[in-house]
Every structure is written in structure tokens, then in C-alpha cells.
Amino acid sequence: MTASARYTELPELADHASGFEAVWVSTSDRNGPYRVLPDGRCDIILRFDARLTPITAITVVVTGPTTRFYDIALQPGMGFVGIRMRPGFFEKILGFEPSGLADGNLTGGDALAALPDFETLCAPALDHDELAARLAAFVRQRSLSSRFAPAPISASIISAFHAAGGRLRVGEVAAMHGISERTVQRVLIKAIGLKPKAFASILQFHRALRLLRDHRLSPADAALEAGYADQAHMNRVFRRMGGFSPARLPDVTLVTLGE
């Protein structure tokens, strides 16, 4: 696993009200696999050859919510511009629900078939800045003119899972909001495309990663604080979701999840 792409977020382009928490660019400078960790988010990505000016042959990719890692085979010069949608805004922006895309994606022709308007994103561009601005404007316009809106309870449920670092069970989140577990499940699947337990596991995994990497806790302390039954439990989750051990953290990109 090699971190062979430079990933940069462009915070000035993020627009929470329009439903996207980050606009990012990434350019590969070598051959090799690039590991993508599950983050409970869906992105709209424009893929292109960054060595060409102007940029042509742009491919649209919509990534669904993932529950385990996957590797992308990078080649030198591969460029990406992406938008990470806030949980709950997928349908508002794209007009269909994210659940059919769990652990999958729509690439190229499949993305255009799902949303023909994507064609407007594929016109030649001078550089990735132009593409990033074009993508942000496209998503903002889709969001503003959408007839879909997230359920009012959706933001509160998602925030409760986030604030707890995934440590609350679905029954607890349901009780906190005075609603049934079935309602929590229905709201989350519609908003995120994942079941509550899968979403909570992802949040717990990300928090444990940060406790290890940024807070420099020992694996035993991180496992306890993150809410795993024991260190062995954390090890199993790390292998499944990240493909690595907590004792040997690779140089992976941890995206900013801002709910």
C-alpha cells in the first residue's frame, strides 16, 4: 500500500448549506495502489489525465458508501477532483437514493445513464481549479433546485451517531429521539445508504484511528476509549475495514468528516 497521491481539500469551496462538506483534488505522481478507507460518505469524482492541457476525456464517478477498504490502481498523472456530500444530501443532489450503491459505484456511462446532466461536467477545462469550481457550482445548483429535502430528524440522528464516535447502539439513538429502531434504520438507509450498525462501525473505526495517530494513545488505551470490547476486537475491525493492524498504521489519508 503506497500513499501515492497528493490529496488536498479546498475548504473555501465547501458549502454545508448546499450539502457538500469538502471539495478535494488529488494527483498521482507514481504507479501503485492507493487505499481508500470507508468513511460513510459518497463522493462525485471527476477523473482525468492531469498531464494534458487543456484537460479532456473526463470520467464521472459516483462512489457509494463503503464498509471496507478498497485499493485504486494509480498511474502517474492520474488526476481527480471530487466533492464529498454531507450525509443526508445524496438524494437531494442526485435525485436518487444512495442505498443501491452500497459498496459500489457508478462510473462513466453508468453515471451518465443515472444522471444525464453529468455530461456538462465533462467539457474540456484549463486546469483542476476550473474543474473544482465547475463541480461545486453544479452540485450547488442541483441542491438549490432540488425537490428533495432530508427528513428533519435525519440531521439530529446522524449528529448523535457522530458525536458519540459510533459508540451508541441503534436502540439508544432511537430512545434518545423518542422513535423506534425501525425509524432510525429507515432514516439512515435513506440518508446514507448504510444500516445504523455499519455506519456506527465506520465512525468508531475513524475515531480509533485518530486516537492512535493524532492523540498517540497506545493500542490498549485507544481500544478502550473508542469503545471496543478489547484490543483483539479493535485489531479485527482494523483488518476488515482498513486491511492493516493498529500496531502498524500506514500513511493513509483520513478525510475531514464534518457533521
Binding site: 457522530h162 458525536a163 458519540a164 459510533g166 439508544e172 434518545m176 429521539h177 492523540h215 476509549e225 473508542a226
Partner: protein, 131 residues
């Protein structure tokens, strides 16, 4: 040096709505609301009462059980001192606080009542303790 008690920071789903509620329900005034709408302080004298968005907990790397009006109250309370707790209780409930226990006089002569705020946090509405 003995430490001083600087702040109580309550994590809430909506900082701006909470500040507006505390102004309307308890007559407190806002001292500062950050542009991000993720942090605010009230004018509460020596010890600051502040509110932070739930996203701040995550940014700081800790995990919390979010405060919700429909949930069991968390195990703490904020006590606010009023000249007339009976009147303050009525005003708070009229502004949207959940009534919990109307003010009554305690054996030590203090008047004490309880409401829950819009986030479900326990608020004591009391008179000052007089010697």
C-alpha cells in the same frame, strides 16, 4: 495556585437556537457567537456558560452522548440564580422549557425549581442562598 472554575461548555445540536432560547427563557445575554455558529458564550459573570456544536466534540477527538430533549437527562445540572424564581420558572416554561418541578422553598430558605432546556439539559432555577 488553586485553579479557578472557568467554563461550563455544553455540547448541543444547534448553538444559535440554544443561545436564543437561553435569552428568551432565562433572560441571559449572549457575549459572543463565533462565525462558524459552533461556539458561543453567554454573559454569566465570573464563570462562563458556553455552548459548542456537537461537531466540535468530534473535531476535538472525544465522543459524547448527545443531549436530546426526548432522552433521559444527563447527570449534571446548571443552576441559575434569580431574584424571583417563581416568575423566572413561569417565563422559562412560556418560552419553551419543559417544566419539571415548580419552585418550592427548601428548609434552608432557598427557593428551588427545575426545568429542562430545549436540549434536555437540567436547569435549576433558584434564589440566592442567604446566610
Amino acid at each position: 495556585m488553586t485553579p479557578s472554575f472557568g467554563y461550563s461548555i455544553v455540547y448541543v445540536a444547534d448553538v444559535v437556537a440554544t443561545v436564543s432560547f437561553y435569552e428568551a427563557a432565562f433572560g441571559l445575554r449572549r457575549k459572543f457567537v463565533h462565525d462558524s455558529n459552533l461556539y458561543a458564550e453567554m454573559e454569566t459573570g465570573q464563570t462562563t456558560l458556553a455552548f459548542a456544536g456537537e461537531a466540535m466534540a468530534e473535531m476535538n477527538g472525544f465522543a459524547i452522548r448527545a443531549n436530546r430533549r426526548t432522552d433521559l437527562a444527563a447527570g449534571f445540572e446548571l443552576a441559575l440564580i434569580f431574584a424571583d424564581p417563581h416568575d423566572a420558572y413561569r417565563r422559562a416554561v412560556a418560552a419553551g422549557a419543559s417544566p419539571l418541578k415548580p419552585p418550592e422553598e427548601k428548609p434552608w430558605r432557598q427557593i428551588v425549581g427545575y426545568v429542562r432546556d430545549i436540549n434536555g439539559c437540567l436547569i435549576e432555577i433558584a434564589s440566592a442562598v442567604t446566610a
